[in-house]
Every structure is written in structure tokens, then in C-alpha cells.
Amino acid sequence: MSENMGLAPPKSPPILLTREVVNAGFKQQVNELSGQHMDACYQCGNCSSGCPLAQEMDILPNRIIRLVQLGQRDDIINSETIWICASCFQCTVRCPRGIDIQAVMDALRQIALDEGIDHFGPDQISPELAASVPQPGLVGVYRKLAT
């Protein structure tokens, strides 16, 4: 029996789009920090389909970009995805629009760090777990600290 029984299902409130929301600066901030152009993304989903850690993410990479396009800052900086990203560059080399998605993830982590949002560090990994984590994953974790 789930302890959530009887609770209302998660809600999906509509996004209220205005030119202020779209142009509030979040998208521009990501563009500046990453050196990328968020509006270039046409949502083909190639980044998500090739991502080796996609199954662990709460929001797929293409949807992260989509939420940036629509100025949905809170959804992104509270997401697990930006920390699960191993910075393996798979998405970056495959993007048909030439967007360095890894750099976008770096930028998003930086914005989250500035907000003081806690994240996952290598010191939190037990030696047993570290032995089973793929190498790119560990490299990614150090990379995240460097941003």
C-alpha cells in the first residue's frame, strides 16, 4: 500500500506565458553563461535519445532546453537532471543545431550553485559505490565542481 493513497495526483498548473516571463533574463543568462543560443533548439530530442544517463533523470535534456526557452527557471534549477548529467559530451557532438548542450548544463549548474542549491559531491560517494560508478560519471562529478 502506498502511503500516498488518497492524495490528489500531482498537479500540472498551466504556464502563464507573457513577454516578461519569456524575456525575464533567464534565457539570456543561460545564453551568456553557456555561449549557446537556446532559441536555436528545434526540439528534435537527439540529446535525450543518446544520453547514457537519461533513465536516471527527472527531466530529459531536450525538455530542459525547452523549459529554458519558455523561461521556466524554477523547474530547472530544482531538477535532478543537471546533477545527474555526467558531462560526457554525447549530446554536444550529436546536436544537429550545433548547440553545446553540455555547456548549457554547466551554465544551469552554475546558476543553481549561485542560488545555494545543494548538489551532489564526490565526498558523498562511498568507496563501494565509487567502485561501481562508471568512470565518465566520476569525471563528470569533478567537472561539476569545477564550474
Partner: protein, 651 residues
């Protein structure tokens, strides 16, 4: 006794996989009258045709049967080959063992027996075939083009430039069509008027083009090469030969009429020209709106016209013309906003359609190119574009894609951004379709550089809230619903055929498809011809299409007409109906069943004759004739009886 040769085609594996073609040839050899039979892998190939020609001579054949695909594909190919080898073309018959046998069966034994049976049936027909000669038909080398939009203008110019006369008929007082309403055109952003008006002027001045605007087709009779057309010239109540287009009458007219050209965003007087660059630049009086016609008083226009061009007594005139070919290019309409209940049914003032937005963007439009919304003239800062408004919705509206909306909506959003720099535009879409040269690049540029937000999902509801127009939609890419309080909403309404098309096609006796657009003879290989000889089609009357495609198609239709006119005379297939005058009792049942008006009662002889130029050889009258007086050449009763007998004997 005729010497008949049978040639059995494998069609690669299309026939040979299901039908034992060698056995068909062997069995054919046993049939009465057959003196030669042979199979070959591709009979329509040059070596295959050479085999046919060679054997006609070597075997001294009087007739041949090609057992292969449908006669619609290669009958003419093999008849030409037969003629080259000295046979009369009507001594060549096709036995269809592909579409009617190998393609529809799987059991090899049964399919082979059926193929043999089909060949046997055609052998019976061939034994009694007569040699025929094509019937020559004269051609009037003058074309009629119906519709003066860009399709009609282009087709008329191409035909006229090749030296033939053209009558260009337009229902409105000026040519130009929808293209004259557009601001700029995708993907190059050429000013629509700038590229269109030179063509309008050229059509108006061309010595080979007779421009009949404010005119409609009343009646069409005749057949390819020889049509008789009756045209109504509606009374403009202005003597166009006197009028110098000064425009004083229009300034003084006190009546107010919603401008169709400006999508009802402005008004003009009861006497008007639709737009300043009109060709011809002559006004007409709308009788229903004219104060004089309604009340018997006013005649202000008459008073101000110094040259006395106003004529309230004018009546519609009728003219008769003879033409050899007819191009129908009557264009399109868009689904009325009023039909879209969930988008406000036309009652929300700031919900307009794409053509109205074109007028708002146009430098010659009601706002002189400034984007201002209809309700209060405010410059909208949040603007929502809704694609597929009535398209791709088989349950409630139109099942098809209107094709031009993805591109023109992107253009609208881009032009809006160029005029309102601090404005934000949103486009709701289902899919973005940008098939065309430079189209995808245009879309990417708009998305990337102009900050247009594309939202993938259909809009559910649009309603007014204070001075805002609220749009409820969804974005399937985030999985979230979207709400926008917009200042202006532009609907990309479905492209539909013009109301008047249905009536016109009845007069022309050409066909439309399930959605009311004109039908082509073949969707791939005969895209600009109607199935009825002498009728050609061009532009959006055939289906939604953009300007480049319309112009290409109009030139193609013109080319078909020019090719027709380049011949001295036409040749009509002689395998049509004929009447035994001694047997015909004059009951006229044939007249009632003939779909081509090819049967005519001859008062003097008391019989019904066949108009050989009109008869398409469908056989309806032959079947209906009670006394056997009407027969089809090379499909006589005795031929059909022997074919049926052969067919039944086979199984």
C-alpha cells in the same frame, strides 16, 4: 482467317511470379486464330517492342495481343509499335494479366488459368476487330482562362506570348486575386504588390489577351478544340470606355460598404475600385449598397463625374466566344472565423484571420502597415498565431493540411517583430512543414533570431477577458498547458475552395474531389489536366498551394494548351459508338444516358446520331439501346458474345 500473334510479358516478376507466363504462351498457341506466341521479360522495353515488330513481319501477323499491364499504361506504346511494323493500330489489343490477375491473386495455378482465360477472351475480340482510322477534329486556337489571380494571369501571359489569343475572365472588377492582398511573400520577403502589379499590367496591355473583368461564365458547350462559351459581363453602371479613373465619384459617394479586399477592416463607397493598383482601374457600383438604387435619390457620383461616365441604366451584357481550350484557375477562400466556435466564432473582435493580418501588415492596407488591433487600434504587444485553424481536423472541419500556413504564419510573426520590436509573438502549431526551397532556413531564422516562441499543441479555447484575448493551449514539448493573455490573435484558417467553384464545374462538366477542389486527370503524371479533354487546371482551385507552385502549375497548364494549339487538327479515337440508321427507332434513351452530350436527335431522319468529337466511347448508350441500333466499334455485340462464351468455357 486472321493470323494473330500473342506476346506475354513477365513484367520482371510482377506477372511472372504469380502467373506461369510460358504456359500462357503455350496455351495461347492452341487457340483458334493464333499463329504465334512468345513470352518476354519486359515487353515494353525497346528489345521487347523490337521483338513485336520483327514477329509481325516475319510471321505475317494480321493482329497482335500483348498480355501485360493495364491498357491505360501501354496500349498506346504497343499500338505505335504495331503501326511501325505496318499493322493498323486498332489490330493491337491488350490482355490485362497484371492489375486484373497477377497483382490480385496469390495462387499460381489459379492465376495462370485466369491469365489464359483473359488471353482467350481477347483473342475472340481480336478475331473480329476492324481496322479503323482516327477521326480528325478541327481546333479553334484561342484559349479561355477563368480566374484572374496569379495562376490565371501567368497562364494567360504564357499562352499569349506564344502567339495565341486568350480571353481572361475575372469575376471581380480587377485582376490580381489574393496575391494583391498580401504584404510580403515568403521566404524572400518580396513585396507582393511589387512583383504582381507588373504582371497585371502586362496582362491588361497584351495584344493577345482580351481582359473581361466583372464577368462570369454562363454556359459552356462543345468539346476539345471547339468550345462555345457564353459570358455574362455584369453591369458596372459606369461606362468604362469613358471613365478616366479620376476617383472623384468614389470620394463623394456617401454609402458605406465593408471592403472585401481589406477583409472588412475598412469601408468604401458603393462605387469603388478594390485597390489603387487595380487593372483595369475602373470603378463599379454595388447595386445592393447604392443609395440611388435603394431609395431612388442621390446620384451624387453622376453629378461629380465631369465626363458623364456614370450610367444607371446599364444592363448585363452577354457575349459568345469560341475557344479551343479552357483553363480553370478560380483560386481559393479561407474558412470563415465564424465557423470556428471554440475560437470565438467571429465574435471576439481581436481574433482575425491570416488574410486580415496581411492587410494590417500591408503598406497600402487600412493601417498603412502599422500593426494595430481592430477593437481599439492599440499596437499589440503579445500576439498569438494559431495554426491548423480548421485544417487537419477530419472530425469537425477539413481533413487536409492547408500547406501554406506554416510558412505564412512564420512570416507574419517575423514581420510583426520587424514592426513591433518590444512585442512577443507565439505560434501554436501541430507540426511545422517547410517543404520548399529556402523554407526551412526561413523558419530556423525566425525561431533563432527573432525570438518567436513556437508552442507545439492545438489551442482549445479563445475568449475575451476585458481588453485581453485569452488563449488556452498546450505545449506538448514541456507537457504543460499554456495560458496567454494576448492583445491580438491571428488564426491560420483552412484553405477551402471558392463557393462559386461548385457551380462553375457543373457548367464546365469537370470534376472536383471530396473536399471540393478541382480533380486532376492523374495525381502524378497529369497534374494540370482535367480528365475531360480540353480542360486544364491551375492554382489553388486544385488544392492549397503557395505562389511558386501556383506559377509553375499555371505555366505548365499554359504549355499543355500551347501543345494542343500547335497541331493542325486533333485525332479522336474511332473506337466509339455508331448508329445503324435502319435499326434506330428514335426512342432517345441514349440521349438520357450519355454523360458527354454526344447523342443528338436528328429531326429530319428521326434517329439519334453520334457526335463523334464528343463521344468518349464509354458504351453507356450501346448498353441502353433497346433495338441494338447503337454499336461500339471493335466492341460489337457479336464480339462481346464470343468473349463471354470464351470466358465461360475457360472455367
Amino acid at each position: 482467317m486472321k493470323r494473330i500473334g500473342v506476346f506475354v510479358c513477365h513484367c520482371g516478376i510482377n506477372i511472372a511470379e504469380t502467373v506461369d507466363v510460358k504456359r500462357v504462351a503455350e496455351e495461347a498457341m492452341q487457340m483458334e486464330g493464333v499463329t504465334y506466341a512468345q513470352d518476354y521479360i519486359y515487353m515494353c522495353s525497346e528489345p521487347g517492342q523490337a521483338l513485336v515488330r520483327e514477329k509481325i513481319k516475319e510471321e505475317n501477323l494480321d493482329a497482335i495481343i500483348i498480355a501485360a499491364c493495364s491498357p491505360t499504361l501501354h496500349e498506346s506504346t504497343f499500338r505505335a509499335a504495331a503501326e511501325e511494323a505496318g499493322l493498323n493500330p486498332w489490330q493491337c489489343e491488350i490482355a490485362n494479366i497484371r492489375e486484373q490477375c497477377s497483382w490480385v491473386h496469390t495462387d499460381r495455378e489459379k492465376a495462370t488459368r485466369k491469365a489464359i482465360n483473359i488471353v482467350g477472351t481477347i483473342v475472340q475480340k481480336t478475331r473480329l476487330n476492324e481496322s479503323l482510322e482516327p477521326i480528325p477534329v478541327s481546333i479553334t486556337k484561342k484559349a479561355l482562362v477563368i480566374g484572374g489571380g496569379i495562376a490565371g494571369i501567368q497562364a494567360a501571359l504564357d499562352i499569349a506570348d506564344s502567339g495565341y489569343k486568350v480571353i481572361l475572365v475575372e469575376k471581380e472588377s480587377s485582376i490580381g486575386g489574393h496575391m494583391a492582398q498580401l504584404s510580403e511573400t515568403f521566404p524572400t520577403l518580396d513585396c507582393s504588390q511589387c512583383i504582381l502589379t507588373p504582371k497585371m499590367v502586362a496582362a491588361g496591355k497584351h495584344p493577345n489577351i482580351e481582359l473581361l473583368t466583372y464577368s462570369e461564365i454562363e454556359e459552356v458547350s462543345g468539346y476539345v478544340g471547339n468550345f462555345n462559351v457564353r459570358i455574362r459581363r455584369k453591369a458596372p453602371f459606369v461606362d468604362w470606355s469613358k471613365c478616366n479613373g479620376c476617383g472623384l465619384c468614389m470620394e463623394k459617394c456617401p454609402a458605406k460598404v465593408s471592403s472585401v479586399f481589406d477583409r472588412e477592416l475598412t469601408t468604401h463607397g458603393a462605387i469603388y475600385v478594390p485597390f489603387p493598383q487595380a487593372v483595369p482601374n475602373k470603378p463599379v457600383i454595388v447595386k445592393d449598397s447604392c443609395i440611388y438604387f435603394k431609395t431612388g435619390k442621390c446620384r451624387l457620383c453622376e453629378k461629380v463625374c465631369e465626363i458623364g461616365a456614370i450610367n444607371f441604366e446599364q444592363e448585363d451584357q452577354f457575349i459568345e466566344e469560341e475557344v479551343g481550350a479552357i483553363i480553370t484557375a478560380t483560386g481559393f477562400e479561407t474558412l470563415p472565423v465564424a465557423d470556428l466556435a471554440e475560437y470565438g466564432a467571429g465574435d471576439v473582435p481581436d481574433v482575425i484571420d491570416g488574410l486580415a493580418f496581411e492587410r494590417l501588415l500591408s503598406a497600402s492596407g487600412p493601417t498603412v502597415g502599422e500593426v494595430r488591433r481592430p477593437s481599439d487600434g492599440m499596437v499589440p504587444k503579445e500576439i498569438v498565431f494559431v495554426q491548423c485553424a480548421g485544417s487537419r481536423d477530419p472530425e469537425r472541419y477539413k481533413p487536409y493540411c492547408s500547406k501554406i500556413c506554416c510558412m505564412y504564419t512564420t512570416k507574419h510573426a517575423l514581420l510583426y517583430k520587424h514592426r513591433v520590436h518590444d512585442g512577443q509573438s507565439y505560434i501554436f502549431y501541430i507540426d511545422i512543414r517547410t517543404g520548399g526551397k529556402g523554407y526551412e532556413e526561413f523558419y530556423h531564422n525566425a525561431e533563432e533570431e527573432e525570438g518567436i516562441i513556437y508552442l507545439r499543441g492545438k489551442v482549445a479555447k479563445i475568449f475575451r477577458d476585458g481588453d485581453k484575448t485569452v488563449v488556452w493551449g498546450t505545449d506538448t514539448l514541456t507537457g504543460r498547458n499554456i495560458e496567454i493573455a494576448a492583445d491580438l490573435v491571428v488564426l491560420a484558417t483552412a484553405v477551402i475552395p471558392k463557393d462559386s467553384t461548385a457551380e462553375l464545374v457543373k457548367k464546365l462538366r469537370i470534376h472536383t474531389g471530396p473536399n471540393g477542389f478541382l480533380s486532376e486527370a492523374h495525381p502524378k503524371l497529369r497534374p494540370v489536366e482535367s480528365i475531360n479533354s480540353g480542360f486544364f487546371i491551375a492554382g489553388a482551385a486544385q488544392g492549397p498551394r503557395d505562389i511558386p507552385e501556383t506559377v509553375a502549375q499555371a505555366s505548365a497548364a499554359a504549355c499543355k494548351v500551347i501543345s494542343l494549339f500547335s497541331r493542325d487538327h486533333l485525332e479522336q479515337d474511332p473506337a466509339i459508338a455508331w448508329v445503324d440508321e435502319d435499326l434506330c427507332g428514335g426512342c432517345r434513351i441514349c440521349i438520357s444516358v450519355c454523360p458527354y452530350d454526344a447523342r443528338e436527335y436528328d429531326e429530319e431522319k428521326g434517329i439519334v446520331i453520334v457526335n463523334e468529337a464528343l463521344c468518349e466511347g464509354c458504351g453507356s448508350c450501346v448498353a441502353a439501346c433497346a433495338c441494338g441500333a447503337t454499336q461500339q466499334r471493335n466492341l460489337s455485340d457479336s464480339q462481346i458474345k464470343s468473349m463471354v462464351t470464351a470466358s465461360l468455357r475457360g472455367e
